[in-house]
């Protein structure tokens, strides 16, 4: 079971090129993510959602505010909070198996978990590619391997930075199903950044909507649908319209009689 995450008054200012002060990327973000929950952070580009994720991971520091993870303050990156990036981050000089092995060894759990490698490989449907190098895999396979490498070190918290963004639509939908399956099996806390409305609704229990410049939390939406979800259901469409409206993409139609 994953850990809970508390985001308390987090702001991030990037230093400008001159003395005048920098760009405010995040402005006083507050949110609580429950243990084992799947939450998406949704917003247009420039709303600072990736920055927020890096701060939760501990890879970047907040200008002010605090992140709590399982009750403890986040200061440094830690294997218990793993980040999955948009492009695959498999090390190209290691085979798929060696990538997972390297991750386990780095986190000093190789001895206890070496037998799980085969399981992970089959979970990602990559058994026959275990000894291939990343460049020999397709984009979808690479991202699956990347994901599984992250999950193999048994993160309490998995942070996903548009993990499926670089894939074509069909591969993407397949991997969304995989992601739901993995999450339901492992019950880790998952926080995913995305700009795909459908993806957010399809995967998450709650959606944090963010608005850009400066990045702020606009609204937090519950998606009370059972898994697996149906992309074509009426409820699904309802949430879709609601979110698009809030993001100001679905304008209320005004009848126009002028010629």
């Amino acid at each position: 079971m994953g850990a809970s995450i508390g985001i308390k008054g987090v702001s991030k200012v990037f230093a400008g090129h001159d003395e005048k002060g920098g760009v405010v990327a995040l402005d006083n973000i507050n949110a609580d993510i429950r243990s084992g929950e799947f939450v998406s952070i949704l917003g247009t580009s420039g709303c600072g959602k990736s920055t927020l994720l890096r701060i939760i991971a501990g890879l970047d520091k907040a200008t002010s505010g605090t992140i709590f993870c399982g009750g403890e303050t986040v200061i440094n990156p830690d294997p218990s909070r793993s980040l999955v990036f948009q492009e695959h981050t498999l090390f190209p000089w290691m085979t798929v198996r060696d990538n997972i092995k390297f991750a386990l060894k780095s986190t000093r759990q190789y001895k206890e978990k070496r037998h799980e490698i085969a399981e992970w490989l089959s979970l990602a449907d990559l058994e026959s590619f275990a000894d291939s190098y990343p460049h020999q895999l397709s984009g979808g396979m690479r991202q699956r391997a990347s994901l599984v490498r992250t999950l193999a070190v048994a993160s309490d918290v998995v942070l996903l930075d548009e993990p499926l963004g670089a894939l074509d639509n069909f591969t993407r939908m397949t991997l969304q199903d995989e992601l739901v399956r993995l999450w339901r099996e492992r019950r880790s806390t998952m926080v995913m950044v995305t700009h795909d409305v459908d993806e957010a609704i399809y995967l998450s229990q709650r959606v944090i909507l963010m608005s850009p410049r400066p990045g702020r939390v606009k609204n937090i939406l519950d998606i009370p649908m059972s898994y697996p979800r149906d992309r074509a259901s009426g409820d699904f469409m309802g949430f879709r319209v609601n979110i698009l409206k809030q993001l100001e993409f679905a304008k209320t139609m005004q009848e126009d009689y002028t010629i």
């Binding site: 890879l59 990156p77 793993s82 990036f85 190209p92 990343p134």
Partner: protein
């Protein structure tokens, strides 16, 4: 086809004095033909053999048959080949002498440049300055250090090793620094996320990702090393392939001079091919 053409050219009457030892050339041609027949599928081999036949025909015609070139300077192919076989032992000794020097200077240079480059590149600030410095120093052709080498070092061998060292050290150093500095951030982020220590990150992440650039430096060093070594051997050595060429051209034995020239070409190509194979194997993870 060309094999037959070559045999026919050999039936033409000789127009030079003395034996042209056509027998040896014909044996070589037969071997080439056999190779071409055996490797039926590989187009590259076939084309190469084709080229060599063409060369042999032109060479034979220009020397023993039509005597277009000066007989004193250009020996017919058979004669060169015969000399190759007669001098076999000597040649092997010269090859080992040259390769020994290269290996010596090269290995010392790699052993010094790669760790130093890793260290410098890993600390960003030193890396920028060092890149500029090593760019400047690698732009100086190491042959100009020879006077200092001769003045400071006791033997020809040590001077050669020094020159080869310098020819290899700077390109490998700057290649390593660049490779380390341009390690992609995402790999470093993952390493950090996994809690990798400094050494683990350096040897498992930074070093492999820098390898392609390190190899580029190695190759540059190798080709400059060969140029420098053969030139140096022609000037001041008692051994080596460059010495062989120079010694016999001084004696007016141009058959052996040609042997030396071909030998250098063959040896360097073989070394390059071997090094290339090795690198390709080490970098097999690259697309």
């Amino acid at each position: 086809m060309l094999f037959a053409a070559f045999l026919l050219t050999n039936l033409l009457p000789n127009r030079i004095k003395g034996d042209s030892f056509a027998f040896y050339a014909i044996v070589l041609a037969a071997v080439l033909e056999a190779i071409a027949v055996v490797s039926r599928k590989r187009a590259v081999v076939k084309d190469l053999v084709f080229f060599m036949f063409a060369l042999l025909i032109v060479w034979t015609l220009a020397t023993s048959k039509l005597n277009l070139l000066r007989e004193f300077l250009f020996a017919p192919p058979g004669k060169v080949l015969r000399q190759f076989i007669l001098d076999y032992r000597d040649l092997v000794r010269h090859i080992f002498s040259s390769l020994g020097l290269i290996l010596n200077g090269y290995v010392i240079a790699l052993a010094a440049a790669v760790p130093l480059g890793l260290f410098i590149g890993y600390s960003m600030r030193a890396g920028r300055t060092a890149t500029l410095i090593s760019k400047f120093l690698s732009s100086i052709p190491p042959i100009v250090y020879i006077p200092y080498g001769i003045a400071l070092l006791p033997t020809f061998r040590s001077v050669s090793v020094m020159v080869i060292f310098l020819a290899t050290f700077w390109p490998v150093l700057s290649g390593t620094i660049a490779g380390v500095m341009y390690t992609e951030r995402k790999y470093l982020d993952v390493a950090r996320n996994l809690g990798c220590g400094k050494f683990r990150t350096l040897f498992r992440i930074v070093l492999p990702s820098a390898l392609p650039q390190i190899f580029t430096g190695c190759n540059q060093g190798l080709s400059v090393s060969f140029i420098l070594l053969t030139s140096a051997e022609m000037i001041g050595a008692r051994n080596g392939m460059g010495y062989y060429v120079n010694y016999f051209s001084d004696l007016g034995d141009y058959t052996r001079t040609m042997v030396g020239v071909f030998l250098i070409g063959i040896v360097i190509s073989v070394v390059y091919a071997a090094v290339g194979r090795l690198q390709k194997f080490i970098l097999r993870w690259q697309a």
